[in-house]
């Protein structure tokens, strides 16, 4: 099995640690991983801002980089959802469709494809999980409080395999953090308030770390934590699952 590693632009530039952990974790689990070096962005920032018609270049590049892999795996639910729902190329529709069907978010790839049942990791800390909306409601990484349906959590079940890790409960299990792509600057006041409230729920329940399957939400909450001078840190879930502390 050869997996193409899709590292979103802002993770590549600002959170290489999350990407390295993703790569190492997949390799540890016996997967042959290749990182196509010419990848850039999934095109979501333009599309969510109403400029989907400007994403042709990103779409072509994505197909060029990721055609031919058995799976494409990414440590970002939001970018994966964008590719799944919106990747298209009028000149290569079949290829676009194939690529969009092969793309997986990391934690669902671990639970559903690799069927991971144990991990050699240890992380002796109290951890809060932020259920990022696109991963949760778009990719069904975990159950949603609004629906009358059985409860489950793919990120949660993986974190439960980590030795000495204590998951905390939140008052609002799946409230949005307010990042929302360009929403975070276009609607600065509401976005920041949502982020502050989200962080407060984790702090209230004693989190030492906030984790999740989407670095963008974590980046938003990290910005707020730092501004507040908090010692609480954010880590992408791959970094915790890969941790051997």
């Amino acid at each position: 099995m050869t997996v193409g590693l899709f590292i979103p632009c802002y993770v590549d530039q600002f959170y290489p640690g999350a990407a390295i952990a993703t790569l190492q974790l997949l390799e540890k689990l016996g997967v042959n991983v290749v990182y196509p070096p010419n990848q850039t962005c999934c095109g979501q920032p333009m599309a969510n801002s109403g400029f989907e018609h400007l994403t042709g270049g990103c779409n072509r590049l994505f197909i060029d980089n990721f055609s031919g892999f058995d799976y494409i795996v990414s440590p970002s639910g939001s970018c994966v959802l964008h590719i799944r729902e919106h990747l298209h190329d009028d000149k290569r529709p079949a290829e676009a469709k194939e690529v969009s069907h092969k793309v997986w978010e990391l934690t669902s790839f671990l639970t559903d494809v690799l069927k991971v049942e144990s991990l050699p990791s240890r992380f002796p800390h109290k951890v809060g999980v932020h259920q990022s909306c696109h991963g949760q409601r778009g990719l069904h990484l975990s159950s949603m409080t609004e629906l009358v349906a059985p409860s489950f959590s793919k990120p949660g079940s993986l974190l439960n395999m980590v030795k000495d890790l204590e998951l905390i409960e939140l008052d609002r299990k799946d409230e949005c953090c307010g990042f929302g792509g360009t929403f975070c600057v276009a609607e600065e006041a509401v976005s920041a308030k949502m982020g502050k409230d989200r962080v407060a729920d984790h702090l209230k329940h004693g989190a030492e770390y906030i984790t999740g399957a989407d670095m963008s939400c974590l980046m938003h909450m990290e910005g707020i934590l730092k501004r507040q001078g908090s010692k609480v840190k954010v880590l992408h879930i791959a970094e915790i699952l890969n941790s051997e502390g």
């Binding site: 590292i7 530039q13 962005c41 333009m46 929403f183 975070c184 509401v190 949502m194």
Partner: protein
């Protein structure tokens, strides 16, 4: 009602100046959302009910012309006078005409978001007609000279102390009196007088049954019934999408409506009006006002399934932290942000962007409207129609060109990281909205791509 030229972001920014109030607003609505969750989790068939309701409405929308004509015939046979209004103006004229015919200058009105959409109160006021809203929340915002901020909870943005002040000013209560029981009793007394003296009562319509020509009005206060039963003339106004095919379908919708709205099993009063009582006139105004245009928009047609429960507002993290008035339209929140651009794209071009697309609205919607997907689709339409600010357009073009080229992307990434590291003042300033309440991410010494090139690519 005052109109505004400010967009959602600007109005929400003003609302957020008082953080304590934002917290209170958020917690109040979250409490209702939690009540809704508790209530729906008691019904194992909840998701099947939603699916059934969505399918029934799909049928209605697909055959709207047939159902409307069947409904009209049945209603007429029952003795109801049916009127058709193409738009808000025509609707207002019809209501005004009925008041003039009956030589009436005062009217009592129970809740109808359609009349808010048509700005009926303002229209009638300019023609010398006094309207008293009989829903308690609506009465309060009416005294305050405001529009409702929520379709089910019109004065959810007001604290009891503020209501006490309004009642002191207009209803003669003692000052600094904010006991909810006392204020409610006062409103009740004042409204009782109104009910007894008004010859014409206007109500909204929650469901109209095509099969029988009857309509159902749901209230928790019984105010629609008090008005309609005491008046000589009952005028009911409804959007043409309020139809359901058969009476038996009410069993689906009445179970969904109030659980979604407030977490109650059913509304306190679900009153069925089928014909005027002896000597009474019953008029029904069927209003289009953009609905058939929306019906023709394939991507947005499903928004007409809406039964106005307000669940999407209660769950929306953006609505809870921006307040209903920030949406500057009669129906606020996620569903309003889909309905409003249909009426006026230019005026409401900001609303589909007032969302993080978190998707919670679609999950609580009792008729399964794909709300957040429609918000995404409206963004594409609005930008293509030319309603994007020029600055944003240019920024997006530059961004798209950069991200389409690995060379440009790598260069820009390097430059961006270097700027944050060596010239933080260039980004850590008030021109950067991110920085206002959040720190920028730290700049790592190398990107993942650079790390991979050094450590792995030759492997």
């Amino acid at each position: 009602m005052t109109t505004t030229t400010k967009d959602h972001a600007e109005l929400a920014d003003i609302f957020n100046k008082d953080e304590e109030r934002v917290d209170w607003h958020d917690e109040t609505l979250w409490w209702i959302r939690a009540k809704r969750d508790k209530s729906v989790h008691q019904l194992p068939e909840w998701e099947a009910l939603r699916e059934a309701a969505s399918n029934i409405k799909f049928n209605v929308l697909s055959n709207l012309d047939t159902y409307l004509t069947a409904f009209e015939a049945a209603a007429k046979a029952n003795g109801i006078t049916v009127h058709w209004a193409a738009d808000a103006q025509e609707h207002n004229q019809i209501v005004h005409g009925l008041l003039t015919e009956n030589k009436v200058t005062q009217m009592v009105k129970s809740k109808s978001m359609l009349t808010e959409e048509c700005h009926l109160n303002d229209y009638l006021a300019t023609h010398g007609i006094e309207v008293i809203d009989s829903d308690l929340g609506e009465r309060i915002v009416q005294l305050a000279g405001e529009a409702p901020s929520h379709i089910v909870l019109p004065c959810i943005h007001k604290k009891k102390e503020e209501i006490g002040d309004l009642f002191h000013m207009y209803l003669g209560t003692p000052s600094n009196m904010s006991d909810p029981q006392f204020l409610t009793e006062t409103a009740r007394g004042s409204l009782r007088e109104t009910f007894l003296t008004r010859k014409v009562a206007l109500t909204g319509v929650n469901f109209a049954v095509a099969e029988t020509g009857e309509f159902v009005v749901c209230t928790n206060e019984g105010n629609a019934d008090m008005g309609a039963h005491l008046a000589d003339v009952h005028i009911a106004c409804m959007g043409i999408e309020k139809l359901i095919p058969k009476r038996e379908h009410l069993g689906v919708f009445l179970r969904l409506l109030t659980r979604s709205a407030t977490g109650q099993p059913i509304t306190t009063y679900s009153s069925h009006f089928s014909k005027p009582r002896a000597g009474q006139q019953m008029h029904l105004v069927l209003v289009d006002n953009g609905r058939s245009v929306q019906l023709g928009r394939k991507d947005f047609r499903n928004s007409l399934k809406c039964i106005r429960c307000g669940a999407c507002m209660n769950t929306c993290p953006v609505y809870r932290r921006s307040g209903g008035h920030s949406y500057h339209t009669a129906v606020a929140g996620p569903i309003g942000s889909i309905l409003a651009p249909n009426l006026d794209m230019k005026k409401y071009a900001d609303l589909p962007f007032a969302s993080t697309l978190c998707g919670s609205c679609s999950n609580v919607c009792p008729v399964k409207i794909d709300i957040h997907d429609q918000l995404y689709k409206w963004r594409q339409v609005l930008v293509k129609e030319g309603y994007a600010p020029t600055g944003k357009k240019i920024a997006m073009q530059v961004m798209a060109a950069t991200l389409a080229s690995p060379t440009l992307y790598h260069a820009a990434g390097k430059m961006g990281r270097a700027t944050i590291k060596y010239a933080p003042f260039a980004v850590n300033n008030k021109l950067n909205p991110w920085y206002k309440q959040r720190d920028m991410p730290e700049s790592p010494k190398e990107s993942f791509g650079e790390w991979y090139g050094k450590n792995r690519s030759k492997k």
